[in-house]
Amino acid sequence: MLNYTIRRLLFAIPTLLVISFIIFAILDLAPSDPTGNLPLTIPPEVREKIRLSLGLGEPFPIRYLKWLQQFFINEPLNLIEQWFGVSIGDSENRLRVQSWATRSPVVDLIVERMPQTLWVVGMSYVVGILIAIPIGVISAYKQYSVFDQVGTFISMVGFSVPTFFTGLVMIVIFSSTLGWLPSIYDTTHKVTDLASFWFQVKQMIMPVMVLALFNASQLSRFMRASMLDNLSQDYVRTARAKGLKERAVLLIHVLRNSLIPVVTVIALGIPQIFGGAIITEQIFRVNGLGQLLIIGIQGADIPLVQTLTFIFAVLIVLFNLVADIVYGILDPRIRYE
């Protein structure tokens, strides 16, 4: 397993380099201009100077190599320095990947955004899983029952109705009409006591639920299908013949086996958490990574978009590997050599 993991990681390096080049090239070719969104009152000469000051004067290969150096060498070094409080080499003059819009290091922006995205989007993922698994189990166990039919209907609705709609409906009901929950997420809020914790819960409810519903509807279908697959397996009959309680048959034998593919799907979905739920973050102003990416795209903040997309690519490659490894751990039939 260890050899397998190391081999996969080594293979990931050229893959990621190719991905980074493609991302860089595509964004470079895209006809967007960092000064495009500035007021028209800024004259062209000034725009040209701004572009030069952003480093756009240099040819493409140089800019790509610079970015590679900044991303793969300078930024990790900087992170190490921050974590361990040491200084390595000439840290003062080390160039970091700079955002064009904020003129600050991109990685710092990402680190700053991480907490709210992980809290809100991550929590919604967890809640989604917690909702999806029991629904999937019961739906499959009582296939074609009323519960299953209703569950199927809700899943279809949850999956097909976009989050910007559910989000808006929730805001209109719980914020505008009832006034129970805040419609705008306060990212500066700090949990210090019970009251502030309660406020944090209140401001998280709506975005978390909107996303959880969406995640749950997908996962519950997956869970149901996997359960149905396993329920008809012979070993389930064996378990019943052993005289096990139905609960034990379901939870120990069927559920555990059904979870193998579901866990893989869950692992594969984790990079999406980091990607943030762009639309939901936008609606509730949970200004996390998704919103950062959108602002970057709108403002043609190319270094920010490049870095974020590349980090997502890294996460996707990484979690594909994680999913494979988890599969290997959960399913004794699979062995990686």
Binding site: T41, V46, E112
Partner: protein
Amino acid sequence: MKKALLCSAITASFFAGTALAERGSDGQLNIIYWQAASILNPYLSGGTKDIEASSMVIEPLAHYDEKGTMVPNLVDEIPTVENGGVSEDLKSITWKLSEGLKWSDGSPVTAADVAFTADYCLHPEGGCQQASNFTDVESVEAIDDSTVKVNFSVAKPFPYGPFVGAQAPVIQKAQFENCMGAKAPECTDANFGPIGTGPFVVTEFKANDVVALEANPNFRDPAKPAFASVVFKGGGDAASAARSVLETGEFDYAWNLQVEPEILSKMAAAGKGTVVSSFGTSVERLMVNMTNPDPALGDKRATIEGGPHPFLTDPAVRTALSKAIDREILVEVGYGEAGQPTCNVLPAPAIYASTANDACLGQDIDAAKKLLDDAGWVPGSDGVREKDGVRLSILYQTSTNSVRQATQALVKQWWAEIGVETELRNIDASVFFGGDQSSPDTFQKFFADIEMYTNNFDGTDPENYMANWACKEIPSPQNQWLGDNMPRYCNAAYDALVAEMSTTAKLEDRAELAKKMNDMLMQEGAMIPLIHRGGVSAHANTLEGVRMNEWDSELWNVADWKRAK
């Protein structure tokens, strides 16, 4: 004795609580800008949101008030030729700082800071985004601690570019000294938390998300600001920003509510807030291409060398196109409070606004048809007018934006009524307004017959703005398509007026010239103005003191804002 002390303490606190104005007595002010602030240094960002967010912290020497009149801010009076502040040759202006000004860190504000600000922006490697405010500045010198003199290389009849308005605030030399030129972007701490003279100081800055501020303890007016802290939240969209003020009441002030007018008025009906608007110089206009954009011309496409436009050079066609448009309906559909029909490309301030073109305000389809008939444009078999084999078929482009697309659709319909065929096109704003040389879709290249967008000018002086339509401003391959004369309008008489204005100092004379230029552009039909656009914002009914301002930052007087009692 103890009792008496206690009593007096209670009375004191009682009076303090009811005193009319006391710094920090009104709690927190919540402002929402749906475009989040990226940076608080306006010299490194041209974005309105960034300029306005920073305007609570750093200030210019003088502001424009909501009527466009200059008001002293860090000075006691505005320098003019009359009071000797502006030299007779119009080549220098001398500002005198008010007494006792302090930065929020307690250090005194000096003329050296003002001079440094100019050096900072004029540094050739800094990529200063407000450089246009410092056009023709030769040097800025600190005469003494409180006197600063700006020298221009040419006569400047309107010398109020530097240090007037939110785009050109004064920054602290001590803080930015090591951030000149190429190093400017590296000073993240300074750019995210400039030390200023404004009513608030930054306590926390999360780029593209939120700014937290608190009252500046060293603000020059000890009674202000009324609010102890400000949260300046960003993100989301205009409609939900409007909702947070008008419906849920979570926020006190929401900026730039480009929302369908109908939705906005429904939200306002909840009674929690008020929609406010004000008009500056923004005009949504149709640019008429005087040159031929035919792709067959290759490199000469849309240039003077490519020859004149096959039919838009006919004044009758341009006038007819304008007459066919019902501007009232356009306002109603797309702008509501935020728009007024206009027939001028220079609609404000009042002294510059011409009334000579108001005939265009009413729609007149019949008159438009008659004009075309008389000019010999007769409907062909498909209803599209033609003359000598030239069909009145227009490619009409603009940026992607729902209001603009609605406008396009309406205009297309009206033009169809008078026998003009229209093909619509929309281009993503970052491409359309981006200056990418390789893209054929920029507004400068103008590979279309008609294009629509909004333009305006900063401050109140239209000199530079009106100079946009001089012959030398025509974009072409020779100048890398840089230039603001999109219609490729070229008229020696107009160029003469531009030259005259650059040497005229007296306000009334300048106004006459500006009006004349505006009328010339309108009557020759180089542009077809549609809507005079204003800003629309909303504030909670509990918030007092908002004086919505299009000439400066909307938050220009945030020090005066207070909670209604």
